[in-house]
Amino acid sequence: MTPVVRVEGLTKDYGSVLALDSLTLEIGGGTTGLVGANGAGKSTLLKILLGLIPPTGGRAEVLGHDIDTQGEAVRAAVGYLPEHDCLPPDVSASDFVVHLAMMSGLPRVAARERAAEVLRHVGLAEERYRPMGGYSTGMKQKAKLAQALAHDPRLVLLDEPTNGLDPAARDEMLGLVRRIGHDFGIAVIVTSHLLGELERVSDNVVVLDGGRLLRASRTDEFLNATGVLLVEVLGDDAQARMTAALTSAGVAAAARGGMITVDAADREVDVHDLIRDTASDLGLGLVRLQVDHRRIEDVFADADTQEVSDV
């Protein structure tokens, strides 16, 4: 698949701050999570990709268009949901989305059709005809998402789409983001400071730190890199006996809380079978046998310790 975004040696120096430090990366289709602390360069990267601010050095391509010379073509094919508030209070979502679809080049009639359609997809029903000033935060985020989709972009840049939402609205928004990437066939780059969210929606994760690329890989690589199984057994002194039995069978096993971690990486025998048989032989109830999912936070923790050891 051709990359949606290709960035080479991109640098943005604000004078006092080096926002991007010769960043090189490629982002493919599907949903990509862009992670980083505040000031890591996420927003700067999005703005440069939109052609709003010129980079100090390096080059970037979005959907095959050079941002330097073809910014207009980039912006025509990209949808953008900004982090901050951007809705005029005295206009209805319906009128607003129609207007912005026209600002992306759609003729009026087509803009009306598209607006009705995307508002339906994001789940704004009758309230679309009310002025947006009276909207809840959840409805506002939906209206912002609708305007980003109004012109059927090939890529959407979502800057913190779940900011300020309550848990239910957050789930709904994440569901929408996943649908955009999977069902609508639109590439998504979504930023968030809540890593758990990106874990749920993104196929790939790009981690920025201080304007540099910390890591870019598939989300499941982040999560499944441990190769560790979690086992929970029930019975008299179950944990100790099980650990001892597994260790004697030549498997590295250790207690962690109420569970046993089993290192299943690079083994020829199927450890799952071994665990099942061992539990059965010992007469213990096997309550749980699952892959130890890491969380993206762990990657950060690893990176931090690595950085400390580098110093």
């Binding site: 025509a76 508030d85 005029p88 209070p89 207007h99 026209m102 600002m103 992306s104 003729p107």
Partner: protein, 298 residues
């Protein structure tokens, strides 16, 4: 057209979820987008396409602005006068307070609103360049201002034709008035637009614009009247260079039969008035474009 209620044989309508459908139709270029923005902005300046109460002020001002023209027209027709009681170009001078309030109150609709609510970032993330956006907004304000200035001239001209006044003379005067109206509109749209683009608060923009337009003119007028009384019209002529309204009034005095205090008397001074009016317009427009470049890269 088929009856939508007959979507099924039973006649009951059914909603089908067609899923997401990509858009394959036409996508227009920046020219068409800018035109659409100008039209929307022009409508918004009169409150059209916005909430009901935002229509109140612009239409009251427009009605008040047209009222004298209608009254004058009535008097002209019924009293059978030989000439218009007020000149075409003088009209805008007489209603300049209404005009000032209109421009001051509607420029923020076009400029401050997008900055205040952050909508500007949605425009900037779309194909139009920031400079084109600024020019389109300015063009909307210019259009709205021209409607305000040109409608009374059109009404007076129509009435003068109905009253069978000398057509060639009326046409000449109306044409001069239209040219002057264009110059004034350029200048007002530039000044009001620039002030509104620097202020995210509507109230501040309104007050600042009225101050610049009306108070500056008040001061200049006072100087001009005193200069005339004192017999030093040279001072008044130079003072007239320093406010849009007094520049307009000076040119009205020079190019029409209207009586104004210390109009420019020499050709050089007339050119200075004209040049100043154009210079203010051009400078405001350039600053406006620069302002939005800054906003875009902030």
């Amino acid at each position: 057209m088929s009856d939508p209620s007959a979507a099924t044989p039973e006649g009951a309508s059914v909603i089908h979820d067609l899923g997401y459908r990509p858009y394959t139709g036409a996508r227009r270029g920046p020219g068409a987008i800018a035109r659409a923005l100008v039209v929307t902005g022009f409508r918004n300046a009169f409150g059209l396409g916005r909430s009901g109460k935002s229509k109140v002020l612009p239409f009251i001002l427009l009605a008040l602005n047209l009222l004298p023209a209608i009254v004058v027209g009535g008097i002209l027709v019924f009293a059978g006068l030989e000439e218009l009681p007020t000149g075409y170009a003088e009209y805008a001078g007489n209603t300049q307070v209404l005009l000032g309030i209109f421009v001051a109150s509607q420029a923020p609709v076009l400029f401050s609103r997008d900055l205040r609510h952050g909508t500007i970032s949605l425009y900037l993330a779309r194909p139009l360049r920031s400079s084109t956006y600024a020019l389109a907004r300015w063009a909307s304000l210019l259009g709205a201002t021209l409607v305000f200035l040109v409608l009374p001239i059109v009404i007076l001209y129509a009435v003068s034709l109905l009253a069978e006044l000398d057509v060639s003379e009326q046409t000449r005067q109306a044409t001069v008035a239209l040219g002057l109206a264009g110059l004034l509109a350029l200048c007002l749209a530039g000044v009001a637009g620039l002030i509104a683009s620097w202020s995210t608060r509507r109230g501040f923009a309104v007050v600042a614009t009225i101050a610049v337009l009306l108070i500056a003119d008040g001061i200049v007028s006072a100087v001009q009247v005193i200069a005339q009384e004192e017999g030093r019209s040279q001072v008044g002529e130079i003072a007239g260079l320093f406010s849009p309204y007094s520049l307009y009034r000076g040119l009205v005095g020079a190019w029409t039969d209207a009586e104004t205090a210390t109009p420019p008397t020499s050709t050089g001074m007339e050119l200075a008035y004209l040049g100043m009016l154009l210079l203010i317009s051009a400078a405001c427009l350039a600053l406006l474009v620069r302002r939005y470049r800054r906003v875009a890269t902030a």
